[in-house]
Structure formats: C-alpha cells, structure tokens
C-alpha cells in the first residue's frame, strides 16, 4: 500500500493527512487525519499542587485557555465540594464569551470563509484566496472580523487580567471585581460586536442561503454530544446530552460520564461504545439545544433548509449565531448588579472527594477534566476529554469517503487540497487535541 502525505494548512497547529492507496494506486483505501507531537499534559499534571493545576492546564491551548482553566477549576472545586459564588460564575461566563468570539471569528475569517468562497465559486473561480486577497476583495467583512477578534481579546483582557492564560481564574472563583468604568467599556465592546454580527449574519444569508450545499459535506448521521441547560443553550452549566439517530436524547450528569465514554490515557482516542461516530461542537450544540433563548436566532436560522442543517459547512453559520446569542447574554450579565459587588473568595481547606470532575462546552465542544487523588491527596491520575479528539473518527470517516469519490475523476493533488476543506470545517484544535 502506498502512503501519500500532505501537511495541512490554515488550521490551528500541526497536522497532516495520510492517504493510503491500493490496487496499483488506482483506489484510495482510506485517509487519516494525523496529529502528532503529543505533549502529555495528563502526565504533566500529576502530583501538581491543586492551586497550580488550572494555571498549567491553561497552557494546553492558547485559543481555548479559558475553557481549559475553567474545566480545571471546576474539577478542583468538585474535590473540595465547593460551589463558586454567583458573581464568580457570571465573570467566568464573560470570559467564556470573550474566548468564543475570538476563537469563532478567527476560524471563520482565516479558515472557513475562504473555503466557502471557493466551494460556492462566489469569487468567479479565482484560485484559493490568500489573506491579502481576501482583505482586498472583502474589506468590509475583513474589518468586521478583525474588530470581533479584537473585542473577544479585550473582553478576556478585562476579566482575565490578560488576554491569554487568564490570571484571574482560580479554584474557588475569580479574583476580579469589575469597576464601573470597565463594565461600561465592556458594554460598548459587546454593542459593537452585536452590530458587526448582525452585518455578518446578513451577509452570510445573502451569499449562501440560496445555494445548495455540496453533498460531500453532508454529515453521515453521527451521534451528537453537547452540554445544555434543559434544552436551552448554555456552555457553563447543565446536563450532558447524547442524541442518537432515532432523535432521542439521553441526558446525564457529567460526573457519570464513564457510563457513556472513557479513555485509556496510554492510548489515543475516546471510547464511546456506540455504533456511529460522535460529533461535538457548534453543530452538535445546535442539534441538542432547542433554542438560543432569542427570537432573532430562530428567524436567522429559518433561511436555511435541512440540506444545510445536516451539512458540516453549516457549522460556520452556527458559529455566527452562537457569537450573536452570547454577546446578547454578555450584555445581560453586564447589567446584573451582582457583578460589581466586592466579595471574598472561599478558603480551600478540606478536601471532600477523591475524584474531581469539571466540564464546560469549549468553543469546539465538550471539555471534561477528571482528577483523582491518592490517600495523601496528591493527584495520581488525570483524564482530559477534548472536543477535537472526539471528532477525529468522524473527520476520518468523512474525508475517506470524499477522497474515494474525488479520486475517481480527479488527481491526487486535487484530493489533497479538497479534503482539507472538510477538515477545516470541523475547526480542529490541534493544540488541545495534542494535550
């Protein structure tokens, strides 16, 4: 069997695709999306001091650092059987909103938008758009996205102490009480974000709602997994839901995750014991959540039919919708009088449980940290469940099918190029996946 390797571009981190050919190179047997350079944070976090762990866990990823830190803080709070104050939860939510805006906008602008333009031939068949060309051809969309990246960044800087690897996120709560000035500033940022998002959502509808999305990008009926709060969109708290082919959702508490999925930390991948591959992330949230708590989102979504809604390319639109819904939520939080109350954080003194489990929905999907303590209360086992790792089997299923079909009429170079568009539409986070 011959192996053809292609390094992926325009994704976060290093990855490649391996295309395996057989029958005198006439057929593609399978394709696999390979991420290398595993770093071993499950090993790094062993024996670390509990107050130190979230700071180290943040370094798993420079894009999903808020989610990593919060999942870690929640796992430690679970060990102490402690609930952070309402104020701390609001502040954590604001940090998650900032992270989502930045992460989703970077993905949309640098990764998915150029591909969408190519797939639907919107720019009159011009070759793959380089960033400079993109900026030149779509100046207004570009500046809207740059603003959003900046706004996400500034929100995390205000509430996290710095934009990346937040200083304020600690087990027990959040070390920051926003001043009136910063609350007003944040409100301005969110208002600006809302205007930009309305423009971008309308542009998306204008460009793509009359198009028929290519069938190669259709999701092959995967199983969806996402956090939700009684079917309402929520990335901080709630139950985990697994939605199967028959459209039935099984809900469970994160602490019982091992009844549904688990991993062997010496091996790669997450085991689900299910017949189909699993999808997590914005599209999975969209499938499990019944509403975003807003009227506007339902009307925006109504422009697209089921061909779109079961297509991985629709993830790009859902990312815009999520940003819109979260910015609205952010504005609500900023109006909450609890936000500016001075409070003392709890003391972390007596450990109650030997297992600590914490989870949130990161921008790319469910993220769960599980720490186990030995008799000396030292961490002796760590399991990290990362969204991109969950999506990889589904990515492989889809790129293999697409590559096989393409190779019947196109050459291997075209296959190499086109399957990367499927990979990018999943928005893989290689840093997280190589934790």
């Amino acid at each position: 069997m011959k192996k053809v390797i292609e390094v992926c571009t325009r994704i976060e981190g290093h990855a490649k695709v391996n295309i395996f050919l057989e029958n005198q190179n006439d057929e593609i047997s399978y394709v696999d999306f390979e991420i290398s350079a595993y770093r071993g944070f499950e090993n790094i976090l062993l024996k670390k001091k509990l107050l130190d762990i979230p700071k180290i866990a943040s370094r798993i990823c420079g894009l999903c650092h808020v989610s990593q830190s919060i999942a870690s803080c929640k796992a430690i709070e679970n060990l102490y059987e402690l609930e952070p104050s309402e104020q701390s939860v609001l502040l954590r939510r604001l940090l998650m909103i900032g992270e989502l805006i930045k992460s989703h906008s970077m993905h949309f602008f640098f990764q998915s938008f150029p591909d969408l333009i190519n797939i639907f031939n919107i720019n009159n068949n011009r070759e793959l758009l380089l960033p400079y060309k993109l900026i030149k051809d779509y100046p207004q969309i570009t500046s809207n996205f740059f603003d959003l990246i900046k706004i996400g960044n500034e929100i995390d800087k205000i509430f996290g102490g710095r934009a990346i690897h937040s200083i304020t996120l600690i087990p027990g709560g959040l070390v920051y009480t926003p001043s009136k000035k910063n609350t007003i500033l944040s409100r301005r940022y969110f208002q600006k974000a809302l205007t930009n998002l309305e423009f971008l959502i309308e542009k998306f509808i204008e460009f793509f709602s009359n198009q028929v999305p290519p069938t190669e990008y259709m999701l092959p009926n995967p199983i969806y997994l996402a956090l939700h709060d009684q079917k309402t969109y929520d990335r901080y708290t709630g139950l985990l839901g697994i939605k199967k082919k028959n459209n039935k959702t099984v809900n469970f508490f994160g602490k019982n995750y091992s009844n549904y999925f688990d991993k062997d930390i010496n091996l790669r991948g997450i085991n689900f014991n299910l017949d189909e591959n699993v999808l997590v992330g914005p599209l999975a949230r969209n499938k499990i959540v019944e509403n975003y708590g807003l009227d506007e989102t339902s009307s925006y979504l109504s422009y697209f039919d089921n061909n779109w809604k079961n297509n991985i390319l629709f993830g790009s639109f859902i990312r815009l919708i999520e940003m819109f819904a979260e910015v609205k939520k952010g504005l609500e939080i900023l109006d909450d009088p609890l936000l500016n109350k001075k409070e003392v954080l709890p003391s972390l003194n007596s450990i109650q449980n030997s297992d600590g489990i914490g989870y949130v929905e990161a921008p790319r999907g469910i993220l769960l940290h599980h720490y186990h303590l030995n008799r000396e209360n030292s961490v002796d086992q760590v399991k990290l469940f990362i969204a991109t790792e969950i999506n990889i089997p589904l990515i492989n299923e889809m790129i293999t099918k697409y590559a096989q079909k393409l190779y019947e009429k196109e050459d291997i170079n075209s296959v190499k190029k086109k399957i990367q568009m499927i990979i990018r539409s999943f928005d893989p986070c290689v840093s997280c996946a190589t934790h």
Binding site: V7, T9, R10, E12, G13, H14, S36, A37, R39, G40, N43, I44, K48, K49, L51, D52, K55, I56, R59, I60, C61, G62, L63, H65, K102, M106, F110, L128, L130, P131, Y132, I135, F146, I149, K150, G152, N153, K157, G161, R162, A163, I164, H165, I167, T168, I170, P171, G172, G173, V175, Y176, V344, L345, P346, S347, L348, N349, S431, T434
Partner: protein, 252 residues
C-alpha cells in the same frame, strides 16, 4: 521594500501567534510587511528570502529540527517568539518529553519572552523589526518597578511555605502592599525580567516566572535565588517551580 516575515510554530499552544493576530498593531503589520510564510492563515508552503522569522513553540520532535534549519538558512534574522521557543517552556514539566529552546539547534538573533508574550512588548518589538531596528528588552528584574516594592530591602531571610495565596487571602496591591516574599508566598520577581507590567502582581497573584531571567540559565537563576530563602520542605520538592518554563542547560 516591505520586510518579508515568516511566522511558524513548533510544539506549543499557539497562544503567542494568537497574540499577534489580536494586537493593536496587527493591521499595521499586515500593511507594512509581507507575510511570506504563515501556515495559520495562508496556504503557501515554500520558505525563501525571508527577512524576519518568528518561531513559536519548543523543539520536542526530531522532525522539527530540519524545519528549523530551513528557516535559519532562508532568513536574515530569526527570533524566538514566547517562552517555549526561548527557554523550552511549560512542557519542561513533563518527565517523558523533551522541550528544548530553538537556540539549542540554530543561532538566533533574539528572544521575545513571555507565556504568553505581553501584548505591548510584542507590539513594540514587531514595529521595531518592521523598521529594521533591534528589539529592546528590559535589563531589570521585576522587583525594580514592582507596585509592592515599597522601601523593602531584600535580606532574603524569608520563610516561604506557599506557592500561591489561598483564594480567601488574595488581596490587590491597593489593599495590602506587602511583598509576597514577606508574606511567605513564593514570588519569582527577583530573578525574572521586567516587561509584563506586573499584571499578575496587580491582581494579587505572585510571579510564576513566565518572562524568564534577565541573563544566563533559567533554572540556575531560580535555584540560586531559592537557596537564599528558607523554602519549606514541601516546596523544595516541587518541580512545578524549578522546571516550570525551562530545564537546566548542561554543557559537558
């Protein structure tokens, strides 16, 4: 002529690259330079005629060495972007993986440290590089302009028994301006380079050392400093301090 930039990453979290994308000066960077190689946002795979190469991440895999050498051969100047590229970084906490600074394999023209790099520092460095000037890093330690400095004279006779304050003991400098070391909490400020604007300290959190030392070996600086204070037995045995961003460099 616009300077041609290369931005690439080895093993890391992409946080320093994410910092570049959200800088105030990033539109300027796009306008005043040419990003010739930047896989994060472009499909170009050839590396040639680079003026300034910025490399993020540590060397943890054999296969990265060849890429590094290609970059060095084709670039007039090479800078280590962030503490992973500069010192090895957080992965040095691993007992299973190597995490080396890029300078172990190629000659470099400078470092821009931090985990992540402070945005103002990075913005200033990038503008200087575009203008063909040398980058400037502070030669002072963090204590020099620390808001908790007061009139403290370091005699280093401190008993240090905590890595961080307990959450209920965290206070801002306005509420309690006593030096962390005096309170028995480890702060690496005395051996760490200034340049982060004391953002952790201003939030009531001591310095964990992400900017690295002003000079010489990272770990040696920390070991020397900690030999001056009375460190509790518990902390003496904690590798989360000593190997947090680097491992000692041995020159046999």
């Amino acid at each position: 002529m616009k300077p041609k930039f290369l931005i690439t990453s080895l093993t890391g979290c992409s946080g320093c690259i994410a910092t570049i994308m959200s800088l105030d000066v990033s539109p300027q960077l796009l306008e005043r330079s040419k990003l010739s190689y930047f896989p994060f946002m472009s499909d170009i795979k050839t590396i040639e005629n680079i003026d300034i190469a910025l490399i993020e991440g540590c060397v943890s895999e054999e296969s990265q060495i060849e890429h590094l050498k290609t970059v060095r051969k084709n670039a007039k100047k090479v800078y280590a972007l962030g503490s992973c590229a500069a010192f090895g970084g957080i992965l040095n906490l691993s007992t299973k993986k190597d995490a080396e600074p890029i300078s172990n394999y190629i000659e470099i023209d400078g470092i821009i440290p931090g985990c992540p790099i402070p945005a103002n520092l990075l913005g200033n460095c990038l503008i200087r590089l575009i203008e063909n000037k040398e980058i400037i890093l502070s030669e002072k330690n963090l204590c020099d302009s620390c808001p908790l400095r007061g009139n403290i004279e370091h005699d280093f006779d401190y008993k240090i028994n905590k890595l961080y304050p307990n959450p209920d003991e965290i206070v801002s400098p306005e509420e309690n301006s006593e030096c962390f070391l005096k309170r028995g909490i480890l702060c690496l400020g005395p051996v760490i380079r200034d340049g982060c604007e004391h953002i952790c300290i201003k939030k009531g959190i001591p310095c964990e050392g992400c900017m690295g030392p002003v000079s010489k070996d990272f770990t040696a600086n920390i070991v020397n400093f900690l030999s001056l204070v009375k460190l509790s037995k518990d902390l003496k045995g904690y590798d989360g301090i000593f190997y947090r961003f680097s491992k000692p460099k041995f020159n046999w």
